[in-house]
Subunit: 248 residues, 2 copies
């Protein structure tokens, strides 16, 4: 199972993805679900994937690697597309092709082949944007009112973002919130696992500020987890007591 | 959609259930999902229900109301059963009967008729116990290592319990945690709604300390929600910053 989250902030973008796949408890493999395309001072894009591995690999092969004639097709790849909207359309078209077995007209409706994507970043002269692309090829966009998008096993990590994240949150605080959201998922679903991939992008910079893989030996992630659990226990003590008699 | 949670604490038990049913956004009805059976100084039991309304109503009619010949059957009802284990077996048998259309041998495997239950409490001379009963009639029990059980839309409200609840948590703090867990669910799933039913039981008391319905006008629940969101934002600021450059 996968968990990927992206934050759409005034200051920039934060991307976080786990790497676990083949999540039988006795058959664990890691597989990158975050793909970055960067040409400094021209473009910086992130694509994150969830769902069927055959579908997501076909899409990545096409829009990131340029296979299957994608480089020659109108629109090209994430390396050549002119706008973020065009990039989202490329991903949407690629997922539709991936779900047409044999290249025919028939789109497989088998939900086992479903896949969803998060795509965000910026291209020179254009605004920074963040999209979620559905298995049907349509997409939605993050906004000031919808400052985060999630794919995969999204529920465990949603409440902390609902409560504490706004579009005005800084990248530094956003990184902490995304990691806490991931930790909530890791604790509750053992098939989502470390290592996790983190990337940050500052608006209008046209290069990644950070691309980092967090593994089991990461002392900061451990410290954050511990700090957060302690903070919650303190918040519990500090929260007002119920006005009713609850014992007796 | 339903969310019910019960806490198994050294000091006693906490039960919390929403009341929303028919959760189309334009067709909202409230329906009690928490049923209490109390005979002071002899027994205090709570049954909470999730899933298909026809199935849960059939089970409640039988084990709480004593309909369908249940009062005469061996084991009787929650009003007469001798032990909490026996009570869990009554519920498990009732859900199996409810899933046999026409009373035949065939158990409906249609997942639309699935239902799950939480049953907890104490009967004179016997230990306090807490069970979750599955649609197949089997059950699991809460323990010092598994101090809470959930049914329904469980994921949004799980991380806060995973992080902050232990068997040693007091009833007063447990009430706060259960309400925060419910609030996380209410915020994320609009088909889970107020009012919510709360009950608390102190171990060996053989009566309920509190049975209370919280509605939209409850000032305490509002104050707790506000306090909790503020505490999380403070915790975010206080949490250690990542050691990496995340901007630039």
């Amino acid at each position: 199972v996968t968990y990927c989250v992206a934050l759409y902030l005034e200051e920039g973008l934060v991307f976080l993805a786990d790497t676990r796949t083949n999540a039988g408890v006795d058959h664990i493999a890691t597989y990158t679900k975050m793909f970055t395309v960067e040409k400094p001072s021209e473009r910086a894009l992130v694509l994150m994937t969830a769902g069927n591995l055959a579908t997501t690999q076909a899409v990545v092969n096409e829009v990131v690697e340029g296979r299957g004639g994608a480089a020659e097709r109108e629109g090209g790849t994430l390396h050549t597309v002119d706008t973020m909207l065009g990039a989202a359309e490329l991903v949407g078209e690629a997922v539709q092709r991936a779900r047409r077995p044999g290249g025919g007209e028939h789109v497989a409706s088998d939900p086992r082949f479903d896949a969803t994507f998060i795509l965000g970043g910026q291209i020179q002269g254009r605004p920074m944007r963040l999209f979620m692309i559905y298995t049907e090829g349509n997409f939605i966009e993050a906004s000031e009112d919808t400052p985060f998008l999630q794919i995969g096993e999204t529920k465990y990590g949603k409440p902390i973002l609902d409560r504490a994240l706004t579009h005005e949150t800084s990248i530094a605080h956003g990184v902490k919130l995304a990691l806490v959201s991931m930790d909530s998922t890791l604790r509750s679903n053992v098939t989502v696992g470390l290592p996790i991939d983190l990337a940050t992008y500052q608006r209008d910079s046209l290069h990644f500020a950070l691309r980092h893989r967090i593994d089991e030996n990461d002392t900061y992630f451990d410290a954050l987890r511990t700090s957060w659990s302690e903070a919650l226990r303190s918040a519990l003590v500090a929260a007002p007591d119920a006005p009713w008699n609850v014992t007796g």
